[in-house]
Symmetry: D2
Subunit: 102 residues, 4 copies
């Protein structure tokens, strides 16, 4: 997945709709947390068993919310200049120290 290409595409998409002025970091993290909650909403009344065997409509809703979340994460990455893959690598190293493999 070419993250910089996606970020440029999403930026253009937002600019074409006049959304860019709203996309400061504080607003973007709020929007991102709302999308996370919409993902939770897809699962809130399901049993663990139902959650593990989503019906097609549920599956599409989940995919849409995951996409929304990733959209805001990519935009937050762009406006803060925090590169996602480097952040993942750095965090995984910290977690490995904190929780050694068994």
């Amino acid at each position: 997945m070419d993250l910089p290409a996606w970020q440029a595409r999403l930026q253009r998409f937002s600019a074409d709709r006049g959304w860019e002025p709203f996309h400061n970091p504080k607003n973007l993290v709020m929007a991102l947390s709302v999308e996370a909650a919409e993902l939770v909403e897809c699962f809130q009344w399901l049993t663990p068993e139902q959650a593990a065997a989503l019906q097609p409509t549920q599956r599409e809703a989940v995919a849409d919310e995951m996409a929304d979340l990733l959209t805001y994460l990519l935009q937050l990455s762009r406006v803060t200049g925090i590169e996602l893959e480097a952040a993942l690598e750095a965090k995984l190293a910290k977690t490995a120290l904190k929780y050694p493999a068994r």
Copy 2:
């Protein structure tokens, strides 16, 4: 960014720590929403101006939370079989229909 490679790596990381049994979709979305909130927490008392000019310590905390969020998103993608880039492409097409460019 090679998403399947990262997903395999994260799966191995979790398996090495005995975390896999907890990673069903319902739990993963809860964990993901918690990480989203931890990201919100980094910004909650900042003015928009402070949020746009993070100090190094704040920046590292934000990077860590973004990484945690992406970790769970990649794992949710793996356990549900919902491919992130395809989901993003599909959702962007829907949003383009709903909100035409100006």
Copy 3:
């Protein structure tokens, strides 16, 4: 505000709609976090100034989300047996120790 009376009323309301079987603690906290996010959604694109001077429609939306949140909090209190006022008193004492008055 008579919390036990409200809890009984909300329980009857849910029972009358067949919602009670879904109201276990895990589901209720998920639902509660979704309502918190819907409250965030009301504010996400507002400047601090706009957020401090809500228009009537915005104000009604905020009131509705606050009500939804309180509804789930009251239900969670009922199903867990955790009494809200006692919890508030106990937590405030802890916070007072952790952060002494200036």
Copy 4:
């Protein structure tokens, strides 16, 4: 529960610690959503069965997070002037119309 008395008490508590300048509506809803997530965190890796039978330590953590959530809800109610019990009454009437009793 005497909500106005609690609101006055919480306001004094915040003022005594210099927190009042941060308590605008936008910040308060962010803080509130973070507390909702901390509540989710208490439950995220529990099975529904474990969630329904909390151990004493877990129970105390849940009570603390419920208290934090209520604290911010009371403060948000104060700064917005949205009265909680009236909001609950109004919202319940709407929900009754939308979802009639069976």
